[in-house]
Amino acid sequence: MPKKHTRQEDETLPDAEWDRFTRHLARGLTPPARLTRKVMRQVYASLPAGRQRRAAPLVLRLKAMRWALTGTAVIVLIALGLARRQLVRPTAGRPVTLTLVMPEARTVAVVGDFNAWNPRNSALADPEKDGVWTVTLQLDPGRYQYGFLVDGARWETDPNAKWYANDGFGGRNAIIRL
């Protein structure tokens, strides 16, 4: 989108500094992936009970569409050879291994607060080909909600989690506390 503010009107400022300032400021920032979910949860909570029930199915469809899109993206990435067995890069923090037993799965990714609910760079691996998918994350202390994305489209709740939270769409997110 072309910027409407012009160089001419800003000529009183040092060029390099103003360029740097406007270029970076204009980039915008990515909000947390959970924002829409949180807004809609509050929106539905403010409705009379009858309308809450009527509204839910379409939201589920919205969610399904999002997962389908992200799932497609995952599959394309795998097809392009960009997916790797262990894609979570170690950073500072404590190692946490997540496991999902899912013999029929072709791909499993973990998505959660720790990776902005983005299935990229979060694939689980099944090196033994025995249906036991694992990934080790390096997480800083905190509380994280997460779930598994199976075959790029299906949402699975971690059955081994100690805690769970309502995901706002009739399902549950697993919770890990460190």
């Binding site: 409407k4 503010h5 740097r20 915008g28 909000p31 809609m40 939201v59 720790f114 990229r120 800083d140």
Partner: protein, 203 residues
């Protein structure tokens, strides 16, 4: 997207919400969440307040959808709501400065996200420096000037749109912008030579 098409789309979604299909509001949130979050982040300087205020802005917009004037752009109406919330928040508490590289999403910092996922130290350093530079510059401005500058540069609004969002005359918008630029120039010429050297060396 063409502005008129965007406006018509927004109106259609708003009408759908008003007709009782609340889920249509999720599309409006999806469409504007980046703009609103960017605005609240730049106004507050920290991610936690920004997320909370963005959330509150959307919820308040939903509750007031019946009052929305179809002649207005939904975006500018939303900006007005978000900025009012930012002002209320600023009044209620002195927002403490939060380190620019404070963790976001608990595991990664906002700057890491800005810099992309690749662990390229040079790129990360550049993004951190740019972010610190922008945020520190904004923090040196009074709220009124900051609002105008963000709406102009980040949100790409015209003078008339900014005047509408802030409910002030266009003349005052221009005056505030002028003062903001003058203040920035003063801030930047006072910067430490070391910081400037580092920036020049990197480029």
């Amino acid at each position: 997207m063409d502005e008129q098409v965007e406006h018509d789309d927004d109106l259609a979604l708003i009408e759908t919400c008003r007709a009782g299909k609340t889920e249509a509001f999720a599309w409006l949130v999806e469409r504007y969440k980046k703009m609103v979050f960017s605005l609240t982040y730049r106004m507050t300087g920290n991610r936690w307040d920004a997320e909370e205020l963005a959330q509150e802005a959307f919820v308040r917009a939903f509750r007031r959808l019946a009052d929305f004037d179809a002649k207005r752009r939904f975006a500018t109406w939303l900006y007005t709501i978000a900025l009012n919330l930012c002002r209320d928040r600023a009044k209620r508490k002195r927002i403490a400065a939060v380190p620019i590289d404070a963790p976001i999403g608990r595991a990664r910092s906002l700057l890491d996200r800005l810099a992309g996922t690749a662990p390229d130290p040079e790129r990360q350093l550049a993004a951190k420096e740019d972010e610190a530079f922008v945020q520190h510059s904004l923090m040196g401005l009074p709220a009124g000037q900051k609002e105008v500058l963000i709406l102009r540069v980040q949100q790409d609004l015209s003078y008339a749109e900014i005047a509408e969002v802030l409910n002030i005359p266009v003349k005052q918008v221009k005056a505030r912008l002028h003062r903001a630029r003058r203040k920035l120039r003063a801030l930047w010429t006072e910067r430490e030579p070391n910081a400037e050297e580092a920036h020049k060396t990197r480029r």
